[in-house]
Amino acid sequence: MNPPETDLAAALAADTPIPRDAEGPIFAEPWQAQAFALVVALQNKGVFSADEWAQALGAEIREALAAGGCRDGSDYYERWCEALEHLLIAKGLASHTSVDALAASWARAAEATPHGKPIRLENDPLRPAGPTAIA
């Protein structure tokens, strides 16, 4: 650990209360469960190893904290998603452009889907026909 990180750890230990939970829900929102499952599935497939994942997630959390991010860890799954995106980009399996485009497409699909119907990517009115083919 370099000195700034030591200082940060000392400050966290001294000043920030440890959040508490009883045996509460495992995932606060469905997207957290989806992001979690995606990482487990990709490890099971050997796309990346458990150690690569721990390093990627650890680095993301460390950077966010050093940049003044949430100290109570409530942004854990946001960091999880960023770590996944960055790891897939580092492995050449995704690009910022492809993720941005698909995320925008999903957002439009959600808006275009009437309440009570499943949200499908095909519901995006601007989506080109055929497979995504952008990556």
Binding site: L8, L12, D21, L38, G73
Partner: protein
């Protein structure tokens, strides 16, 4: 009847992060790395099938079967597999036995490595920066934050988990539980007692 083109309800909305997770999932499905049905199965497993009750059964067995306890101490991965836990492969389970001289506490200073096969997913506090920092700097104070005071002369050993090695704490069997069934013993083994921030309490018996 107003002639609006936009009078359907915009009831569905994805937040930025919801859309991003769906985007990552779509990319991986299209590349053939992920089967959507497998994702649902993983979520179901962690939400409903794996949890601290599994670890509690391991502890109760160790309390009642000295030969199992010896195997658990020698090779945690193989011993928990005897009870049907584990199987994802990759990570080793190491059981840290509390003694009157030494109490064990687990943490992951890097991120959130945790003995998933026996405890399920980690609690919110285990993943929090203050716990990850304080467990190392002031383990006795950390345990006190959870309302547990350990004897002054009991050392505290902190185990930093890694992606390959996942620790679980085997607490000491409390006095007053003589003759209890394995099931009743398991009912007093809390999640926190297997992380080291708690102790089994006789009054919690089911």
């Amino acid at each position: 009847m107003g002639g609006h083109h936009h009078d359907h309800d915009h009831d569905n909305h994805f937040t930025a992060i919801e859309a991003r997770v769906k985007a990552l999932e779509t990319l991986m499905v299209e590349k053939g790395y992920v089967d959507p049905a497998a994702l649902d199965a993983i979520i179901d497993t962690y939400e409903t099938k794996i949890g601290p009750r599994d670890g509690a059964r391991v502890v109760a067995r160790a309390w009642t079967d000295p030969a199992f306890a010896a195997r658990l101490k020698a090779d945690g991965t193989a011993a928990v597999a005897e009870l049907g836990y584990g199987g994802r492969g990759g990570e080793h389970i190491v059981a840290c036995f509390n003694t009157p001289e030494e109490h064990n506490l687990i943490v992951c200073t890097l991120c959130s490595c945790y003995p998933w096969p026996v405890l399920g997913l980690p609690p919110v506090w285990y993943k929090s920066p203050p716990y990850r920092a304080k467990a190392v700097i002031d383990p006795r104070g950390t345990i006190a934050d959870f309302g547990v005071t350990l004897p002054e002369n009991q050392r505290i050993r902190v185990w930093d988990s890694t992606a390959e090695t996942r620790f679980m704490v085997i607490p000491m069997r409390p006095a007053g539980t003589e003759g209890w069934s394995e099931e009743k013993l398991a009912s007093i083994v809390s999640r926190d007692s297997m992380i080291g921030t708690g102790l089994p309490r006789v009054e919690d018996a089911a």
